[in-house]
């Protein structure tokens, strides 16, 4: 399984390195969301501290939609997905490789966006800033693991791009809540984010396990 995973991961990274489709589109989209929110709410002072956690999470969420849809749409062309279905390798390697690749893309976007975000919203972190290095990856993993799974599910339907957010957002809600509250409490430094980090970790473990177990069912659905 490790070799399958590495093969798929290297392939996805190489495609992205050559085209830079996913990262560029996500980056620009997330930037647009951040700018739109700052125009809509004109954040200043403590208010900007309070809402910025939510804004960065929602910006990531919206931006990642395009990349997640692209992840499997690429495989549909030239019947690559059918070939993978026939391959003797288990689907979990393929799934994990896709999740890892998308996780890296979204993380890159977050890293590039973070300074812009700090400038636009005049933020200074009041709590323990290093905890953000825990919260954002955990939240991103929750988003990307579920998103990759549901993208594989919705790619089989008629209106593929439309369906993904419709089925992903309701399932993702508790993770979004935990992510927003954790980032918010780190930025304002008013409350302890430990509980929310634990919830995010639990969510990640549960849904990654179930996705791995059920991915073969989705891949071979007929």
């Amino acid at each position: 399984m490790i070799s399958v995973l590495l093969t798929h991961l290297v392939k996805d990274l190489r495609i992205e390195w050559r085209s830079r489709e996913a990262i560029n589109s996500m980056l620009f989209f997330a930037l647009l969301v951040v700018v739109l929110f700052s125009l809509a709410f004109s954040p200043r002072g403590t208010f900007s501290q309070e809402i910025s956690g939510g804004v960065i999470c929602v910006a990531t969420l919206f931006a990642s939609m395009s990349a997640l849809n692209q992840a499997w749409a690429r495989e549909i062309r030239h019947q690559v997905l059918d070939a993978q279905r026939m391959a003797p390798a288990s689907g979990s390697g393929l799934f994990l490789a896709k999740v890892l690749a998308n996780f890296l893309f979204v993380s890159v976007v977050q890293l590039v966006l973070a300074p812009v975000f700090l400038v636009f919203y005049n933020l200074h972190v009041q709590g323990q800033a290093w905890l953000l290095a825990l919260v954002l990856p955990l939240g991103t993993w929750a988003l990307v693991a579920n998103g990759t799974f549901f993208a594989a599910l919705s790619i089989r339907s008629r209106n593929r791009e439309l369906l993904l957010p419709l089925i992903l957002f309701p399932i993702f809600m508790p993770a979004l809540l935990a992510m927003v509250l954790a980032t918010g409490s780190i930025l304002t430094g008013e409350s302890d984010p430990t509980l929310w980090i634990k919830l995010l970790a639990g969510y990640d473990i549960i849904f990654t396990t179930v996705s791995l177990l059920l991915f073969d069912v989705v891949l071979h659905a007929e």
Binding site: R156, L163, I167, P174, Y203, V217, V218, E222
Partner: protein
Amino acid sequence: MKKFVIGIYTAITIALLAWGFYQAIYVAPADAMQGEIYRIIFYHVPSASVAFLFFAISLIGSICFLAFRRNHPGRAQAGDAWALAGAEVGVVFCTVVLITGPIWGRRAWGIWWTWDARLTTTLVLWLIYVSYLLLRRFAAGPQMQTLAAVLGIFGALDVPIVYMSNRWWRTQHPAPVFGGDDASGMAPAMVTALLWNMVAWLAWGLLILMLRYNVERQHQKLATQEAQDALDA
């Protein structure tokens, strides 16, 4: 014979609903604190119980479908029909809960809505099952049943997490009326009225669920028949 049984059952259900209405509106006394508005509990609570029961039926149907889809196609199809019927009728009852709740909340709390644990859970549950029904609409062909079953399992898994996360966040919904602290509990006449309404709405829900299940089974039979005809032609 089948029609006769359904007719009898429908008549009993309607009688139960009428009796439940009489109990709720005329027999049960007005609440000491809330006055008349509390009577909405006789519709709110039964609908919520029925909705949760039917979502559970939907989950079991989804699991049955996935478990049997290779070896027992017949059972798998029945499971899928249960999953669909449970989700659809459950969404209707859940909608009733989401409508009656704010009506009561406006009078009792002075606000229509609050992001409390149970309210949010119910709303997210409703959203999840609506997205489940959307998936069934959008996905075509036989793979749709498998995809829907997978989503059904994911959705059910999400419910306890949503509940816990919101409980840690904030809670405003009244504490459990039964089995809560010493101050909980109801006047006996109210309990009787509530139980009658529970039975009546459960009977009504089951009637609709059965009808929906049968319709879906007929659909499946027709689809199989059509596929067979197309093969023969």
